[in-house]
Point group: C2
Chain length 167, copies 2
């Protein structure tokens, strides 16, 4: 097999096709997925037409310094909540010419994060230029972090595909 | 299997262990690998101790805007050369508190890039705080982009491991 699981690549290729049809471009902002959404989107031959790049902000400091996530929010409420996902998505779209930004912050597990957020808690943000940002929350029941990782990347790609379809 | 090929994950785990032993942290700057080096480094449970994040700068505009790569260099010499790899690595280390930055720019193929750089041409940059940046050039002979992708990610991880070993 290739570097990345074929299920993820197949979904990413469907996203790229939809983005191209709708003449949209995308940027990512990732915490727990660590760049895997971006890597999937960059995979196909046609990626350069619609994939701009991404920001992997694994630490709170990088979320603040690179994407402008509010420092007080991070220190008082932690990095895994609706508002951080929203600020990550909006920070990414602001720092690129992309039409869409998808953001992920969460806890893959197996342990809770430093602020005691439970494993499997995931927030996905989607920013669109000139439209309100949306955030969805998910509590995965899987115990295996890699299963939650795969679910999260697929869900982020599906969000992009749905949005591009109605763009 | 998991989301990412186990060979890459195994090498990334070895890097994380070496970085921890040497009390070093890392940030990435990726073009053609699209975030996959960052995703590998973030994979392990101990990643949060040494992985800060990464910059996926797929387009020339993102290389310039996000990492400060020189615009004239990009327009006159393209995005695949020693100097762009150096500026990406140094741009990334400047934008994080990390001790090391690894950067990749290249052409996975199967076709040449927009500036006619051949498929398989890869530059890897390694920046260390307070030391000169090094860049290595590689011309892969593989025809399959995914084989070149795997080689490139492995080589980047090996560079980090070697550097951490002598850090």
């Amino acid at each position: 097999m290739g570097c990345i699981h074929e299920n993820l690549i197949a979904e990413a290729e469907a996203v790229v096709e939809r983005l191209r049809e709708s003449d949209l471009t995308v940027v990512t902002a990732e915490s727990c997925t660590g760049g895997l959404i971006a890597a999937c989107l960059s995979h196909g031959k046609e990626a350069s037409r619609c994939f701009q790049g991404g920001f992997v902000v694994y630490t709170k400091a990088q979320k603040r310094e690179v994407l402008g996530v509010n420092d007080r929010l991070l220190s008082e409420q932690g990095a895994v909540n609706t508002e951080v996902a929203r600020q990550m998505a909006e920070g990414a779209i602001k720092r690129s010419p992309a039409s869409l930004a998808v953001a992920v912050t969460g806890v893959l597990g197996p342990d809770p994060d430093e602020d005691n957020n439970p494993p499997g808690l995931i927030y996905l943000g989607l920013a669109q230029r000139g439209k309100p940002t949306t955030v969805v929350r998910h509590q995965a029941t899987a115990v295996d972090p890699d299963v939650t990782r795969e679910w999260t990347v697929l869900r982020a790609l599906q969000l992009l595909k749905q949005t591009a379809g109605y763009g």
